[in-house]
């Protein structure tokens, strides 16, 4: 294998489809979804029906599971339409991917068909804990206790599972060398299976610019039976780490899609808006902001793709850090880019009449979700 950015026909098709969806369905729905603090059922069904957001293999009734590159193209593409709507859909879909890749045959049979048949299903993977923790550092533990498995910890930024889909919690197992494990928390039993503990889901207040992707904090101290342990006790933890990394990269790809859109929008604005007798794009003080934006976006996209490709070829320990770096860079530059895009619009950028202000908000939330301060340091702007 050599350096190769060629897209397969399938990848090309995914990218095109995502862009069409972004333009026709997602982008127009953004203001309404934001006001409603959620994605309308009709749009949700549309997105699900494309198979892009929650891919399921044919044997479980789906259209097939695309490769990682296709996944990132789809995420960025819909993120170009609206970061919050795309986040909502893909974060739910991440659960299907986790089950498909890491579940036992029984688990797949039990849970995957619903992602196809139940067009209102909202599932969730509980990953983030804050504090810059990478997955191998998660303090949420999943470990054997007798013949059951105890899940303890606190997760934040967990997509709300209002639709009743599965909630999958990712944690580490201190009894097994801190290996990664995932457990499916039964959706219908807020008190924990068998009443041995509890799951408290606290809906978060809206996250800046991600109102349409409501999240929650989940406090867990619950035991579940072995059948709820994703992949069983001997699950392939490398496969799990892989899917978790892809889920984390989702956030980076969303930010890139959003920044790309903002850059195109502000660039277009700059060619139309005139000041001092000329379009403001003639001023290097404006134009160079957009040139820098373009450079950063391209660099971030390649880094995210590279991190995803590395998941196929590299040791897990290395990829986890690579993912942390890719996420930190992509989401941070997305925030700076959207900031500069508001600046290009000047006072108009501060008005909700233009969508740039929404992108300024959304990227800020995306960059705070999974940020490790050792990956990118604060330095003054001047």
């Amino acid at each position: 294998m050599t350096f190769d950015l060629t897209l397969s026909e399938e990848q090309d098709a995914v990218r095109d489809l995502a862009r069409i969806l972004a333009d026709d369905a997602v982008s127009p729905a953004a203001p309404e979804a934001e006001a409603a603090r959620g994605v309308a059922d009709a749009l949700w069904r549309t997105l699900l029906s494309t198979g892009l957001t929650a891919p399921v293999a044919p044997e479980h009734g789906g259209g097939g599971v695309p490769d990682g590159t296709s996944r990132l193209l789809a995420v960025e593409g819909l993120g170009f339409g609206d970061a919050a709507i795309a986040a909502s859909a893909f974060w739910s879909g991440n659960a299907a991917l986790l089950i498909g890749s890491c579940g036992t045959a029984e688990q797949r049979d039990a849970m995957l068909p619903a992602f196809v048949t139940d067009t209102e299903l909202r599932a969730a993977v509980a990953l983030y804990e804050g504090f810059g923790r990478a997955p191998s550092e998660y303090r949420t533990t999943i470990q054997a206790e007798g013949d059951r498995w105890r899940v303890r910890g606190r997760k934040t930024g967990v997509p709300l599972t209002a639709g009743g889909g599965p909630l999958i919690v990712v944690g580490t197992d201190p009894s097994a060398g801190d290996r990664l494990r995932a457990a499916v928390i039964p959706a219908d039993d807020g008190q924990g299976e068998g009443g041995q503990g509890g799951v408290t889901v606290t809906a978060s207040s809206p996250h800046l610019g991600l109102d349409a992707a409501p999240m929650s904090t989940v406090d867990l101290d619950v035991t579940v039976g072995e059948r709820h342990l994703l992949g069983g006790p001997d699950a392939d933890d490398a496969a799990l780490a892989h899917e978790v990394s892809m889920a984390r990269l989702t956030t980076a790809a969303l930010a890139i899609g959003c920044a790309q859109r903002a850059c195109e929008y502000a660039s277009g604005y700059a060619t139309e808006r005139t000041a001092f007798g000329r379009p403001i794009s003639v001023f290097q003080g404006v134009a160079f902001l957009m040139a820098d934006a373009r450079m950063r976006i391209d660099a971030a996209r390649l880094q995210v793709w590279q991190a995803a490709a590395g998941l196929e070829t590299t040791e897990a320990a290395g990829t986890e850090r690579a993912v942390s770096h890719a996420v930190a860079y992509a989401t941070s530059i997305a925030s700076e880019v959207t900031r500069d895009c508001v600046q290009v619009l000047g006072g108009h950028g501060f008005l909700a009449d233009h969508p740039v202000e929404r992108w300024y908000r959304a990227t800020a939330s995306l960059t705070a979700l999974d940020f490790d301060p050792t990956c990118l340091a604060f330095t003054p702007a001047l």
Binding site: Y128, E129, G130, F131, G132, R133, E137, R139, T156, G157, S204, S205, P206, H207, L208, L210, M215, T217, T274, A275, F276, V282, F283, Q284, G285, V286, S332, S335, R339, V342, Q343, G346, G347, H348, G349, F350, L351, A352, D353, E357, Y360, R361, A364, S365, T367, A368, L369, F371, D372, P373, T374, A377, F378, T379, P380, A381, L382
Partner: protein, 395 residues
């Protein structure tokens, strides 16, 4: 050379911040959600343990500190914004009357300035238009002379306090030629026929309780004496104070805008520091020590901005030409301030951007500070002209 503040000013600011961050800040979310000041604003303001500087209440005058009015303003703006920007807006009477003071005739000052100071009215400022932002020469609103009246026609946006002000100082063009010098300031009183409030408060990213209105002037007829600076003699028209004169009084405000950004960023940094310290055990030790470094680096960044603000205002107090220094202050502060708030949210993690905390609001509020009263780009243009002459940065 000294870089300290007087004990009097230090104590005043500490008291103001204490009250502002406990009492006033409690209304911040409401002001944001409702796009308006709290209904009981006056009562809240009256509860302040220190004077707030409302002109209409003589006893509310800011303390006479040895630091001088300039540094006092820097600290006052920073402390008010530190509380929350809604408090800033609650004390904002508008700027229309400052323009009256700057370029009005004595009679006009008596009519439109004195009452505002005495009784505390609000005044509007109508300059921006859909097609005219940084480039004020593009103002398209016209004023046409018709006997003893002027007929105003056009649209304004970003007109601060436009829907509630006692009057609006509106800039309009009296002829197609003459560039900026043909743009004059007119007083249009509230409810005057021909003045329509198209939108009372624009829907904004942040600073939502700051009322900015969209106004339409539809053949709005006003007396000839409402042109500011007009002394009754039409031969004066070309020299009557217009756009530039009207704006010159506002230049002094640039360090104050920067101070506001520093106040908001400081609030974010202090809140973040406190929250992180509570959660210290949740951080891996190495990460925690990195975070401690970050917090200090951010504090120094804000302090550098503060010193630039103080310098510009200190010079102003001495009537020194501070045009470059005022631009430097405004170019430096806001750009660093939103970066500090963003980093604070990153350090706080997923909970850092929810509406449970005010950081997300402050991140929205602050963005305008690098835009209004001259964007960061305009500041760089002014600074480079100071360095390289009037042709610099023209492209």
């Amino acid at each position: 050379m000294h870089f300290t503040l007087s004990p009097e000013l230090t104590e005043y600011a500490a008291n103001l911040r204490e009250w502002g961050s406990t009492v006033a800040r409690g209304y911040a979310r409401q002001a944001d959600t409702e796009h308006a000041l709290p209904p009981d604003t006056d009562k809240i303001l009256d509860s302040a343990p220190v004077p707030l500087g409302r002109e209409e209440f003589p006893r509310d005058a800011l303390p006479d500190v040895p630091d001088g009015p300039g540094p006092r303003a820097v600290i006052w703006f920073e402390s008010i914004a530190y509380s929350d920007m809604w408090l800033m807006e609650s004390l904002n009477r508008g700027v229309g009357h400052f323009v009256v003071k700057a370029i009005g005739t004595p009679e006009q000052v008596e009519r439109w300035w004195d009452p505002v100071i005495a009784k505390g009215g609000k005044t509007g400022f109508g300059m921006s238009e859909p097609g005219a932002g940084s480039d004020t020469s593009r103002i398209a609103t016209t004023a046409t002379r018709d006997g003893d009246t002027w007929v105003i026609k056009g649209s304004k946006m970003f007109c601060s306090l436009g829907a509630v002000a006692d009057y609006i100082v509106v800039f309009a063009r009296i002829s197609k030629d003459g560039g900026k010098s043909a743009i004059k300031a007119f007083v249009v009183e509230r409810g005057h026929p021909g003045l329509t409030v198209v939108k009372a408060n624009e829907n904004k990213l942040g600073l939502r309780c700051w009322m900015t209105s969209q106004l339409a002037f539809d053949d709005c007829v006003i007396p000839v004496g409402n042109m500011l600076g007009w002394s009754g003699d039409d031969t004066d028209l070309t020299t009557t104070g217009g756009l530039n004169a009207g704006l010159s009084g506002l230049n002094d405000n640039r360090p104050n805008v920067s101070s506001q950004s520093i106040g908001v960023a400081r609030a974010s940094l202090e809140l973040t520091t406190a929250l992180l310290r509570e959660q210290r055990q949740s951080f891996a030790p190495h990460r925690w020590s990195v975070i401690e470094d970050e917090l200090v680096r951010m504090a120094w960044t804000l302090d550098r901005a503060r010193q630039l603000n103080l310098r510009a205002q200190w010079m102003n107090d001495r009537a020194m030409n501070n045009r470059a220094e005022a631009s430097i202050a405004k170019g430096f502060g806001p750009l660093n301030a939103d970066r500090v708030i963003r980093r604070c949210m990153q350090l706080l993690g997923p909970e850092g951007t929810t509406t449970d905390l005010l950081l997300e609001k402050w991140y929205r509020d602050i963005k305008i500070l690098d835009i209004f009263e001259g964007t960061g780009q305009v500041m760089r243009l002014l600074i480079s002209r100071h360095l390289m002459g009037r042709d610099a940065a023209g492209s």
